[in-house]
């Protein structure tokens, strides 16, 4: 059945994301909050996250251009970013963020810059993967609804 197949695919994909470390338990938790009243809850959350943090990313990039680097400011930005990332379990992004903070504390400019590039990569990758996942999930839900007896 399409429905079942889709449902299975969704589950598999989620598991894969989880196994690869892109998402963590928190994501599962948030997903569990989804219900009839808000079926796309996680997707909404993630969308708003990317909107909200895109500015942050730009700010950090700009801050990294300044000389000398203001590590306190950078740390604050990353702290904010991490806070948001943890709320839905963006594990890899959080890991890079934590590393970035360590470099900030050590006032290691190079380390910061390198880590930030990695962070941006993870950030973008996660977005792609989650988008694909959500699309699949939506399809599965549609199939589910469609197949429900009227």
């Amino acid at each position: 059945m399409d429905r079942n197949r889709l449902a299975r695919q969704v589950a598999l994909q989620k598991q894969s994301l989880f196994d690869q470390g892109y998402i963590d338990q928190q994501f599962i938790q948030v997903e569990e909050l989804q219900d009839v009243s808000s079926p796309n809850f996680v997707e909404e959350i993630v969308t708003s996250y990317y909107q909200d943090t895109s500015r942050l990313i730009v700010n950090i990039e700009q801050a990294l251009e300044r000389r000398p680097l203001d590590f306190d400011q950078l740390d604050r930005y990353i702290y904010q970013l991490n806070g948001r990332s943890t709320s839905f379990g963006a594990r890899k992004v959080i890991a890079e963020g934590a590393l970035f903070r360590e470099y900030c504390e050590a006032e290691n400019a190079e380390g910061c810059k390198t880590t930030f590039q990695q962070l941006k990569t993870e950030y973008a990758t996660l977005k792609r993967k989650l988008e694909a996942y959500f699309q699949l999930a939506r399809q599965a839900r549609l199939a589910e609804t469609a197949s429900r007896p009227m």
């Binding site: 938790q29 808000s38 809850f41 991490n82 839905f88």
Partner: protein, 681 residues
């Protein structure tokens, strides 16, 4: 409790503002719990909201602390609990915590991705009732209702204890004043909660609780009447019964007056203590120190008023005030504690002749303890986190001070008084050691208590909560007392004796976070301004409170200096504690609480209106020394900008100070060692 209220007629609305008295509520609790969530992270806000909704709570989201505060202020009884993030761009979460604790006395849960020990500790000392690490799981949110119940329960208990049976006074119906439950849904939820509490409490309560005493709101007019009565009788002679007679207010019970008196005394004490250190804060009183104190006497009258204004000086604020006041002493040696005659203050009712001894002036006897005492640090060991509670400890604190024997009435006096309270500071004359170590549980309030806290030594014992330690040294209020006391110490104030205390307690200045609150209060201290301002705002309660604290603190400080001019108002405050000594510290309840709240460092921006019938004020809870950020003695972070004591003013003042002096307080605040850097012990 009222046996009659079983299901719904809760006559005493005192405990929970939110509950509507008399409501018949289906037992839905905890469903319907009204939660306010504050976080600048929109993602987190939405997720939390969803989780809370799943728990069947009523959720209000807010992404700015300022907005949250105004929401809370507009609708005092519109929420049952607040969850706030620690790091927010427009206002520090801890500051918000303090405000809420002082003004609204609501339980506040802090949350953050930061799980560092220091930050969590800060939450505790500022009065947060819990701390959640992000990402927050729904399981953690399912049980947040316990904090609301616990708070109410404590309030009830205090009420119970503080008031003796008031036979006719009890107002069965949900007193209008008390009717906090303004919100629509309160009825059900609250009622059930209330019922629960009541039921629980009933067992504990004695006959007095049969009738739920509605909380008396000490309005400005009422307070003015009170002050007039007290002044007429004379601080020393003002006993609740007589005051009641003079006031001739129908429906007012002796217990109400008694508790208010306690608070008032604490407040006065703080004023005297605070004035000292506030040098920077309030130029008016601090600078003049002596001069400032002069006006202090006027304060007395004022204090009361202001005190009354809010009716509820948030204990915390008071505490802070006091603390601030207390803390200050060191800062300004010259600062005479204008607060009234310390002696009076403390000795006010105390049967103990100790303070009464008129030593007010003599700071020497100012036992370091006093300082603390003055600070209405609400030492709530457990509650530190709860700002709300902050209100309470103050009472105890003050009392304790008195106990000290004669400390010029200042802090010690309070201690002495508190002693009667029981836990309050335990004034242990010698042991007064300002239990600053707010760590005791009350770190919460430690803020300003510093000054006061020190005095609270008595409290230290139990109340420990005096969070005064927490008070950041900024206020240094305490610090001074401590220092001085040590020198003076001669007396009961263990400061000298308790080495530990000196550093810690003196640090009373712990006014860290609370500093902000205290700041406002500091201003109060010596100057009645505080009180005036307090009137203005609801939040004033705490201001007064803090003022009270400060005063006490200052008082202590003054004492230290040797010139305890405790303003009568302060004394009065403290006085009441003495009368209450009976273990009913609770009486201090409203006042005390208010006062204490200041002391409590919980900064939580909780400025719970201490004025509210803080019965629980000193009651059992160890005076919570709210982190009344007692301006560190050294730094002039005059926390209490006496002049502007309006809430906003306070805040601004505090903020300023914080930037200036308080800032360091934060760093200093080091619970562990209680060694407040700035506190020049």
């Amino acid at each position: 409790m009222n046996p009659s209220n079983g299901k719904g007629s809760i006559s005493t609305a005192s405990s929970s503002g939110a509950w509507k008295v008399g409501d018949v509520v289906p037992d839905q609790f905890p469903a319907g719990l009204r939660v306010l969530v504050v976080d600048d992270d929109p993602t987190c806000l939405v997720i939390l909201e969803k989780m809370l909704r799943n728990c069947l709570y009523e959720v209000t989201k807010c992404n700015r602390a300022e907005i949250a505060l105004s929401l809370l202020r507009e609708n005092k009884n519109g929420f049952d609990i607040v969850i706030s993030d620690v790091h927010m761009p427009d206002m520090d979460g801890f500051k918000l915590l303090e405000h809420i604790g002082l003004e609204m006395d609501l339980p506040v849960i802090m949350m953050s991705a930061d799980d560092g020990k220091h930050v969590v500790m800060k939450g505790v000392t500022h009065g947060a009732c819990d701390y959640l690490i992000k990402p927050v799981r729904i399981e953690a949110l399912k049980t947040i209702w316990q904090h609301v119940v616990r708070k109410r329960k404590n309030e009830w208990k205090e009420l119970d204890q503080s008031g003796s049976v008031e036979d006719g006074d009890r107002q069965q119906k949900p007193s209008d004043e008390v009717e906090y439950s303004s919100s629509a849904n309160e009825g059900t939820w609250k009622s059930s909660k209330k019922r629960k509490d009541e039921e629980e409490d009933t067992e504990d309560r004695d006959d007095t609780s049969t009738l739920k005493k509605p909380r008396v709101v000490w309005s400005v007019e009422l307070h003015q009447q009170f002050v007039a009565a007290v002044n007429q009788l004379g601080i020393d002679k003002a006993v609740p019964k007589k005051i009641l007679e003079l006031m001739n207010v129908p429906g007012l019970t002796r217990e109400n007056v008694a508790s208010h008196l306690q608070k008032y005394r604490l407040y006065l004490r703080r004023l005297s203590g605070v004035s000292q250190h506030h040098g920077s804060l309030n130029n008016s009183f601090i600078s003049a120190q002596e001069a400032t104190f002069g006006p202090m006497s006027s304060l007395n009258g004022l204090d009361l008023q202001t005190f009354a204004v809010t009716g509820q000086l948030p204990a915390q604020s008071l505490a802070t005030l006091q603390a601030a006041g207390l803390g200050r002493p060191t800062a300004k040696p010259g600062i005479p504690i204008p607060l009234v005659d310390q002696r009076n203050l403390f000795g006010f009712e105390n049967t103990k002749p100790r303070f009464g001894e008129g030593q007010q002036q003599h700071m020497s006897s100012v036992k370091p303890v006093n300082l603390l005492h003055g600070i209405p640090t609400t030492m709530e060991p457990k509650q530190l986190a709860n700002l709300h509670q902050s209100a309470q400890p103050l009472g105890s604190m003050n009392v304790q001070v008195n106990a000290h024997g004669g400390h010029s009435g200042s802090l010690l006096m309070q201690m002495g008084q508190t002693q009667s309270r029981g836990q309050i500071l335990n004034e242990s004359a010698g042991s007064h050691v300002p239990r600053l170590p707010s760590s005791v549980g009350h770190p919460v309030i430690s803020n300003g208590i510093a000054g006061g806290v020190i005095g609270i030594n008595g409290i230290g014992d139990n109340s420990r909560g005096i969070g005064y330690n927490q008070v950041r040294p900024t206020s240094s209020m305490l610090s001074f007392p401590m220092n001085h006391t040590s020198e003076l110490a001669t007396n009961s104030f263990p400061l000298g004796s308790t080495p530990g205390i000196s550093n810690v307690t003196s640090k009373g200045a712990f006014q860290d976070e609370i500093n902000s609150e205290i700041k406002g209060s500091t201003g109060l201290m010596p100057s009645y301004d505080i009180f005036n301002d307090l009137h203005q705002q609801k939040s004033q309660n705490w201001e007064l409170h803090s003022a009270g604290l400060q005063f006490s603190a200052s008082q202590n400080a003054n004492r230290v200096q040797g010139n305890l001019d405790v303003s009568p108002s302060v004394l009065v405050r403290q006085g009441y504690s003495s009368s209450q000594t009976s273990g009913q510290n609770r009486n201090v309840s409203d006042m005390g609480r208010a006062v204490f709240s200041g002391v409590e460092s919980t900064q939580q921006g909780n400025a719970q209106i201490i004025g509210q019938q803080h019965n629980n004020f000193l009651v059992d809870n160890p005076v919570r020394v709210k982190a009344e950020s007692i301006p560190d003695a050294g730094s002039q972070s005059i926390l209490f900008p006496e002049n502007n004591f309006g809430q906003e003013d306070l805040m601004s003042a505090l903020l300023k100070q914080q930037q200036g002096g308080i800032a360091p307080a934060e760093s200093e605040f080091d619970l562990d060692g209680y060694s407040i850097d700035n506190i020049p012990v």
